[in-house]
Symmetry: D2
Subunit: 387 residues, 4 copies
């Protein structure tokens, strides 16, 4: 049970690139990183607009001198300070991730990067190699993976409670972009612009989330081939899709499916994963993250609840408040940042990370998967081998 | 509101083929047909085993003389009675439907046939032509279509409340055959034997149900091409599948999907349909048939309830008990049999059916869809044009 | 599994008093009684308006001669026919039940009577004595008790799966009469008129339903004292209440509560019962009658489903369609009418009823409970001993 | 939308009394107070065991010198430091609250105190007078009131969307203490010991939570009289109750009910509030805090979602992550601590609090309500006037 005790001898000196005033995802990075003294925010290049970024940094209580106009200046200036930053989180639009991560790693920093990590598998592999060379860690914020019941699912599957895995049903299908809201909303606008969003919109933006959950829950499964069909229902978004279906065949004979959508009108998140085995199924929904449905064929369905004593120890380690009380997405991210901090601290001492976290491999996989989906879709929704 | 008043001047004299002792679906046919005096059960060939069929007919209160050893004898013997049957329901394993329907139509009978109507589109077209020639109606028991909220969905979509239709998500995915239960269960055994089941198992057995719901709700949509991948997770079922995914493209640019499964371990029915438009979505689940979720993007989701005054008149016509009280599958089937009776009565007077019902066209479509799915799957899960 | 086989050598000749054109509850009586040939409807006095009653009887296919102007004529005329009725169902407003039941029993008929059976415990005891003298059965239509999972709850509690019983939470709280809808609706009007409704509105109209469920599930519990507070939120309904809370103490130290309401705005039925023991709880909701929640402290909650093999045989006996398919209120009533028929048939042979059913004792108990509630409420919501 | 920007010119110097190693509620105080730099934790007397308290404070990163053996020393020592604490949170067992709060106020500190504030209304009034004299604020941690949809409910009710209020249904009924778990668990042990728990167990421990929600949602309602019956199902807990029902009559003719329980076997929190008006109802459940059910009689029920643009501005002010993402109890508490900080800051400048928060009045009301419930229960569950 987490109670706020410091887990590191000293907070990691940390900066953010992006995540400025009005950004969607900046605050949850800060809230998670700063919790329990894991990190201390000492610098940043928060905004594409330097002045706005400086004002914002000041509003967070930063020394205005350490609110830099851009990431290059940030990395350079901090590198020469004795109390310079040790880690940076990148929460900018997709199109900038590759360059920023690269620069950060080259500056010897640990990195937490938003998904998608970059645009091509080649870039991703490059970053992986660079991180390895530098001995720095790269965390990727597949935030939902921090929910405790994801650990429970992983452990139950590993213990064989589902039998042989047959089907993996995944979806992240919200409706918030059913209309061309990007006209009025900058945070949506870049998402449908290939230069900033990359080769896909919803595949990378939402589809990779449940995909990563499946990787956590089902570490043995390997995709053999996949097929993807994608649509731009709001026509101005073409060539980027606002809806996609991906079918997958795994090497053990199992099949899977991912529905990625931003035009599922009226739906909130709609992120779900159902893993079906020969004996039982598990289902998890990110809008009810404190519950996990366990359905053994021929028995009453069971609703597992976060924090209960019957869970696997791995699913209880991150409990902060006990069963019955709902934890939310902020706790999930806090759990990830806790693992990032531990991994960074271990890396600094030349040791392996003590706990699994969404790392550079997770980042590479997400990029690879999107790349294959796009290749399939653009070839007319045909099967492509997964390499 | 239905109150039991007779809607026909006389009950239709009716027989069953199949649906005998221990059969899964025989009773709901009888319960629905006999309700409110629509039909009277006067004869039958209930069982593959003549003696058991005769005993069973007797247990239902039939004259043992009119409990025939087989359908051929039934049709022949009844044809020469002045009080002979006018209609027959066919509730035998799939492999017999074509021959029995053909014989029934040739005997001048109205027919209610179980789905799938037959094995090939060619057979189905033949039956359609025959029925037309004979001036007899053929009802097909896509029973879920009798639920009142299906009408509500149809009317709301027709009125444009969803905007332009974009996505149709369908599934009928239960878990009852996660293991090879057919070893011990004759009613499952024939379902996985191509000679009796036809070219598919779950596609025809369950997938065609939500497909028909989509036809009712979305009469304008036409499939342009589809792709299907199917699996036999219980290996002894091959070549018949116990799981299948079908992707569809419609001619208006919309896309659809059907998940058909008998190995969705732990799930009860799992039959759902979600229709997504540019403005809103509708979702219906056959295990909660008295509710319909209406989700307008940007507004709170609304739960519509059967029997409420705010529904479209077409969704209230079949109310039997008022809102709040759950109606179940028996009412849905009763509603269909009511429409079959009206259609038969009208046909006898040379008139068109007063109300829509799952008719021979519905039967043909189901067969055609399965045929295309199988063709796609057997060619390696490739796209096939829908013709 | 019920399949329509006749369970009696001959259908019971049956009539209805009340339940005419436009009545709320008439049709479900007919639908349940006529199912599977248990009863045949041969006569009736369906309406307070003789002409309308005759027309309605004719619309049901009855011989107009046997559609009588009133119950007295019905009983007298049928008594002298060789094929006269053997049983009658009473579905008239409350104020007439006592007189009609009395007359029916005196005419030697079996009776199915709507709840509340009558207005006072004294009347109810009188009817009980009369029924005993006549050797006739009286069924009372606590219809929800026919749902299969009620049997499951009873069996699980009897087997000690809940531990020692501590708390019984009951409610039937709908919102349909949040406003003075009675102004425009005759079926509501009499419900708030003490001459026709009796000493209470919602206590008798809805509160007795979950109360009877508790009697079925918890046959050992005896109320020791109770306290009731009632309100007439629509003022014109006074002295009759449209909302009431009843607290109860049982003789084993357990406590219970019933919330009865017609002004729970926006709620559909809202009929629920939760039985809480020292080890576990069971919860059932009449709008989801095919599910039963079983919650063992310290274990994941389990959702039991109608029709599944893990249920007690008593909970499977009335299955008509198998698990996954929703059965509704019509099946619950059919199950009761099946037991009424069996009890009548047994009584005719001088034998005890083969199966439990809501009988005259249930009817007496409901009246007694309402009487105590009203006495408590009218004395200022004080505790009254239950005698 | 909250993004982490500092709302005070400087963090408030803050200490905790109680909330030490292994305590249930200490961490959420810290997590909420420290978020976004509102408070800085600089001192504490965390534990009844001084050594353990000091170690724990050190583990939180405190200067060991400022980890005091008890609250008296804490207040005295900090008072003489130039950088001494400005505020203290009290998270000790109930029996100590009165003395600690009194001492804190006398030391000129702002206080955040756990509920129940103290044991008697007289003590509570004393603290209120003292706080007023000292010009210090007292916040009471009715934490659920920090959920955003509580504000939405308040605004909708104020705007008349429910019509005239009739019924308030409340419950907080969990099952975690169905057995005598206190034998093995110190945090439960004191809860059933009158010296430490006060005159009640579940009434004060859980029942006051939904009661306070009703005060927020329905600021005009005044209780006129109430009646309470309480039970000690685990007998060793007597005279303290582990289950209680409270009936209430309000001065406008409305009625209310609170079910407080720790023996609702198998239930998680079970905290719900349903407010019923003449036109519509609102229902909120603390295990699904991001949803609010709005049910207008005669219309489909609507599910309002946290963070959506259709909400009242007051219900959006505390949004941290946008709609669809679940916020949990930690955000609710953070929202309260934000308001406490604002109120403290305003008080320091001699100004009124800019936003409503659960204050000393809320604390007094909770104590008064428990006192009345106990008085009623101990007199035999009779009505007592609410004074
Ligand atoms: N993990 C998740 O669940 C999740 C959720 C939402 C967004 N994201 C990802 O987070 C990233 C940011 O998304 P968002 O929704 O917050 O975007 P946003 O448009 O709301 O905010 C982007 C922020 O980055 C700043 N910025 C842009 N370019 C910059 C540059 N070159 N240097 C410094 N700052 C720059 C902008 O000024 C803004 O403050 C994206 O990659 C997105 O995919 C992840
Ligand atoms: N509409 C639906 O929702 C639904 C549901 C279940 C089954 N079905 C369909 O109903 C049909 C029957 O399915 P079931 O599950 O009841 O099968 P079943 O095996 O349980 O019963 C089949 C019955 O037909 C009898 N029969 C077999 N061959 C016969 C013959 N040649 N002549 C006379 N009787 C014969 C058998 O003796 C048995 O009584 C199938 O086509 C199936 O696809 C439809
Ligand atoms: N068991 C249940 O769940 C349930 C549900 C609804 C109603 N009820 C009970 O059923 C009874 C009828 O209720 P309803 O809602 O159908 O009422 P209703 O007003 O809708 O119908 C009453 C019917 O009785 C007829 N009638 C009235 N007086 C008569 C008389 N003296 N002789 C013959 N016919 C007469 C009326 O013409 C009408 O057809 C009531 O006692 C009610 O409490 C029970
Ligand atoms: N607001 C809520 O939702 C909520 C939830 C749980 C508990 N509470 C309240 O919080 C308070 C604490 O409850 P808990 O469950 O955390 O109790 P707990 O027994 O788990 O922890 C109590 C802590 O206080 C310390 N302590 C005891 N006496 C002390 C003293 N004299 N000086 C300093 N420290 C002392 C203990 O060592 C321990 O660390 C109670 O009043 C309880 O009612 C409120």
């Amino acid at each position: 049970m987490i109670n706020g005790a410091k887990i590191l001898s000293a907070s990691i000196r940390w900066a953010m690139v992006g995540g400025g005033q009005g950004s969607q995802i900046g605050y949850i990075h800060r809230s998670a990183a700063l919790r329990d003294g894991l990190f201390q925010l000492v610098a940043g290049a928060f905004d594409i607009d330097p002045a706005r970024g400086r004002d914002f940094g000041a509003s967070l209580g930063l020394d205005p001198e350490r609110c830099y106009p851009d990431y290059a200046t940030l990395f350079a200036a901090e590198a020469v300070r004795p109390d310079g930053i040790q880690a940076v989180s990148v929460a900018t639009p997709n199109g900038t991730h590759y360059a920023i991560c690269k620069a950060a790693l080259e500056a010897g920093l640990h990195v937490v990067c938003e998904k998608p990590l970059c645009f091509t598998t080649q870039q991703a592999e490059e970053l992986r190699a660079l991180a390895a060379r530098q001995g720095r860690i790269v965390g990727v914020t597949y935030g939902y993976a921090g929910h405790q019941l994801i650990e429970q699912a992983r452990e139950m599957i590993a213990a064989g409670e589902l039998g042989e895995i047959r089907i993996v049903q995944m979806q992240f299908a919200h409706g918030f972009h059913s209309e061309a809201v990007e006209a009025a909303n900058p945070a949506t606008k870049w998402r449908v612009d290939p230069r900033m969003a990359g080769p896909s919109y919803v595949l990378g933006d939402v589809g990779t989330h449940p995909l990563y959950l499946s990787e956590v829950m089902l570490p043995q499964l390997r995709i053999r081939r996949l097929l993807c069909t994608r649509q731009s229902f709001v026509r101005s978004r073409a060539p980027l899709e606002d809806n996609a279906f991906t079918l997958m065949e795994y090497d053990n004979g199992a099949v899977g499916q991912v529905w990625s959508s931003a035009v599922n009108a009226g739906s909130m998140h709609g992120q779900k994963i159902r893993v079906i085995g020969s004996r039982a199924s598990l289902e998890w929904w990110d809008e009810r993250p404190n519950q996990l449905s366990f359905e053994v064929q021929g028995q009453p369905a069971r609703i597992l609840e976060r924090g209960m004593g019957y869970l696997h120890p791995a699913a209880l380690a991150d409990d902060r408040i006990g069963a019955g009380h709902p934890e939310g997405l902020f706790e999930a991210w806090s759990n990830l940042y806790r693992r990032y901090a531990l991994a960074m601290d271990a890396a600094d001492r030349g040791q392996p990370a003590p706990e699994r976290y969404p790392d550079i491999d997770a980042g590479v996989e997400g990029v690879r998967w999107v790349e294959h989906c796009v290749r399939s879709a653009d070839a007319g929704a045909v099967w492509v081998d997964y390499v």
